[in-house]
């Protein structure tokens, strides 16, 4: 008896999160019809991850553009291109004992699957799960660094500019909703796994454009995209 509230709570949550659980045959037909009637087109939008991250790290400037292309019912191509510039502030230089500058850009491309099913004509909302490949190219340098000794003299040096390439895979999941006609807003949580990085022995990137913390092999990221769809088929 004591478990009843828990069971009811679980059922309610399941219905909310997975509305496809209790589908009748009619609703199956409706969902299929809705999928086939889904507007096909290409979207152009911006990812607010970069501008929002500036509130938390004022040394960094980042921006990226995103596109989704509805290739067939349920399947989308996702592409993203952007840049990231980072220059340590004086506070950061003092705290970390080195100055740092990085300029770089990145590309991401992958496929998304929309597993949101709803029996409602004209509903173009999605819940995506997908896999992306990411590549970043950046030039960075440590204009000056200090190694504190504590007894003998401190050591001062510098690292000149050189290029670093990073490759990673990114699993993403998240919803997208049509706010107004052809205007979409969506967010995803992204699990990024670095698969290859060259030339980072002398100076590891503080931040890899599009990937995040340069020290980590695995990063959790986020995207918050506002985009406009140009339909080509209804």
């Amino acid at each position: 008896m004591g478990n009843q509230p828990k069971i009811l709570s679980f059922l309610f949550t399941s219905l909310f999160l997975f509305p496809g659980f209790l589908k009748s045959q009619d609703s199956e037909k409706g969902i299929k019809a809705n999928l086939e009637e889904q507007v096909q087109g290409i979207t152009l939008g911006i990812n607010l991850e970069g501008p929002v991250s500036r509130f938390f790290d004022s040394d960094k400037s980042a921006f990226s553009a995103v596109t989704h292309i509805n290739l067939s019912p349920g399947w989308f191509f996702r592409g993203e291109a952007g840049f990231e510039n980072l220059v340590f502030s004086e506070d950061n230089e003092e705290k970390r004992n080195y100055s740092y500058e990085s300029n770089g850009s990145f590309l991401k491309a992958g496929m998304l699957y929309d597993f949101f099913s709803v029996d409602e004509r004209g509903n173009n909302d999605n819940i995506f799960v997908g896999l992306n490949y990411g590549f970043a190219f950046q030039e960075h340098r440590a204009g000056g660094y200090t190694i504190k000794n504590g007894y003998w003299e401190d050591f001062h040096g510098s690292e000149s500019t050189y290029a670093v390439n990073t490759h990673w895979l990114e699993v993403m999941v998240g919803p997208r909703t049509e706010l107004f006609n052809n205007l979409y807003m969506g967010w995803t949580i992204n699990l990024r796994v670095k698969i290859l990085q060259n030339n980072s022995e002398e100076l590891s990137p503080y931040s890899v454009p599009g990937f995040g913390n340069g020290d980590n092999t695995v990063n959790v990221g986020f995207s918050y995209v506002i985009e406009y769809m140009i339909p080509w088929k209804k």
Binding site: I147, G157, M185, V220
Partner: protein
């Protein structure tokens, strides 16, 4: 009523949460010191020994690293600008030994939060024999984040 209409607000909260949770690494200091243990030269087995009134100073330096302390081990910071660091270790005004540590050093980038550091590889130890009988290199690497006894000083 669309199922996903209320999600922009949730998304924004998650975004703020993810950026707000990124912490900074704590960096270690004094990671350039050779750790020396004191042992009795009279014992067949390695046996810790304690010296009274130990003073340690780098050659041509005014500040002491230790002054009149009772020690069974001590730390000797290595000079970044040289490949040899020399110290004078004494237990009284007249009983003093000179200890020179010869090493190779390599510049390493530790992490984005902690920047650069040197890693050392001890090559040779030169010493006088006022109260030091012999010196053995136990672990030649002095590296950021590692804590190991690098040399053993056997004393009379």
């Amino acid at each position: 009523m669309k199922f996903l209409t209320g999600l922009p607000a949730i998304g924004f909260i998650v975004l703020v949460f993810i950026f707000g949770c990124q912490g900074e690494e704590a960096c270690l200091s004094n990671q350039n010191a050779v750790q020396a243990g004191l042992y009795s030269a009279w014992s067949d087995e390695d046996k810790d020994s304690t010296l009274q009134n130990v003073s340690l100073v780098g050659i041509n330096r005014i500040d002491s690293i230790y002054r009149d302390q009772s020690l069974s081990e001590f730390f000797m910071p290595l000079d970044f600008e040289s490949d040899t660091s020399t110290f004078v270790v004494g237990v009284s005004a007249t009983m003093k030994d000179t200890l020179s540590i010869v090493y190779r050093k390599e510049l390493d980038f530790i992490s984005r939060d902690c920047g650069y550091i040197f890693t050392f590889d001890i090559d040779t130890i030169l010493y006088s024999n006022a109260f030091i009988d012999s010196v053995a290199i136990a672990y030649p690497i002095v590296k950021y984040g590692e804590s190991a006894e690098n040399i053993k000083l056997f004393i009379y």
